[in-house]
Symmetry: C2
Subunit: 202 residues, 2 copies
């Protein structure tokens, strides 16, 4: 289990391996769907040994989650517009843009349909969302610093409240994700914070 220094050098072989594995995974996911993803295939496409893939990603669910997080992060830097409302609106507009791509929808549907009693899947989902929410937490922290949100605001809850309606429409009712949905969700989060700040009045 000795760790060789070269494996940790930033931008070195390990970083390149990670990049090519995740790129190959994203290609399969977006073009063919989750069902077609296998570790063997990704190892071949990225020209690495299967054991190299398994060392970092214990299951194809982990691999898919990591590839999606990379994709979502690369295309969508966390917005910093100067106001909470602006940041929330920009972030949710990014999310809508991403999930409106048919190939992304297909992946999300496939991931949703995976059994929740599969521990690997549950852990991979948690890791994916932990990464997404960590980025979004910066929005809440800046809003707290500007005095737009109370100091004890929970970033996770703010982002959940913001994103829930978009995913409800996307996955459950199938209603359209237009600009009105973004407006409504942003107002929902802002009015809740407003209501909480008023304490006994509500």
């Amino acid at each position: 289990m000795a760790e060789k220094p070269v494996r940790r050098r930033p931008g070195g072989r390990t970083a390149r391996t990670r990049e090519s594995v995740l790129r190959a995974t994203a290609d399969v996911l977006l073009n063919e769907g989750y069902e077609q993803l296998t570790i063997a295939r990704i190892a071949a496409a990225a020209q690495v040994a299967e054991t190299t893939v398994y060392r970092r990603w214990p299951s194809k669910a982990h691999l898919a989650a990591d590839a999606l997080a990379e994709l979502a992060g690369a295309e969508n830097p966390i917005p910093d517009t100067g106001t909470l409302e602006g940041d929330l609106r920009a972030l949710l507009t990014q999310v809508v843009g991403l999930v409106e791509r048919p190939e992304v929808r297909r992946v999300i549907r496939a991931v949703v349909s995976l059994a929740a009693d599969d521990d690997e899947v549950v852990r991979a989902k948690e890791a994916f969302w932990a990464g997404r929410f960590a980025g979004a937490a910066a929005i809440v922290e800046r809003a707290v610093e500007r005095g737009e949100l109370p100091a004890d605001s929970d970033p996770y809850e703010v982002i959940e409240d913001l994103a829930a309606l978009v995913y409800f429409r996307l996955l459950v009712t199938g209603l359209p994700l237009d600009g009105r949905v973004v407006d409504r969700s942003v107002r929902l989060v802002l009015s809740r914070q407003d209501g909480q700040g008023k304490g006994e009045q509500s």
Copy 2:
């Protein structure tokens, strides 16, 4: 295409056929999952001709949606507690109780994973949700009568705001559906209405 009067008599043969077809469908859905559902199998189980099933339900997606609506409606009368907050809390507690059953989760996951570009599936989903929202609209109407909500409240939006977080956790992040989620969702809806009522202040 002549309609025989006997087919419309309430509680008559048509009603019995509908009941036995939907019961057989719910049995297959809950015990084996959506994949195992076929019209041929349901017709055999309900002891009717396949054409009889197709006459009312053009696809297995329609059949599944109708069976789920029946199941959800039969077990969950729309609450009437005397207050908007009480009604919202009771309704969402029902929803959580329903979706926490592993067999119901399995069906929901299967339905979510169906391609959105299949028109039959889209129409079946719309029919299912139209039925669910129609029932819940009564809650909003009574709240308007009591002066708890503005007269122009959109029942569909109120119920969407109420249910979105539960489905987001159920389908997307996999976080638990505890009592706190019900509390948060109810407060979210109430604070939004509160914020809207205040107009320019916000």
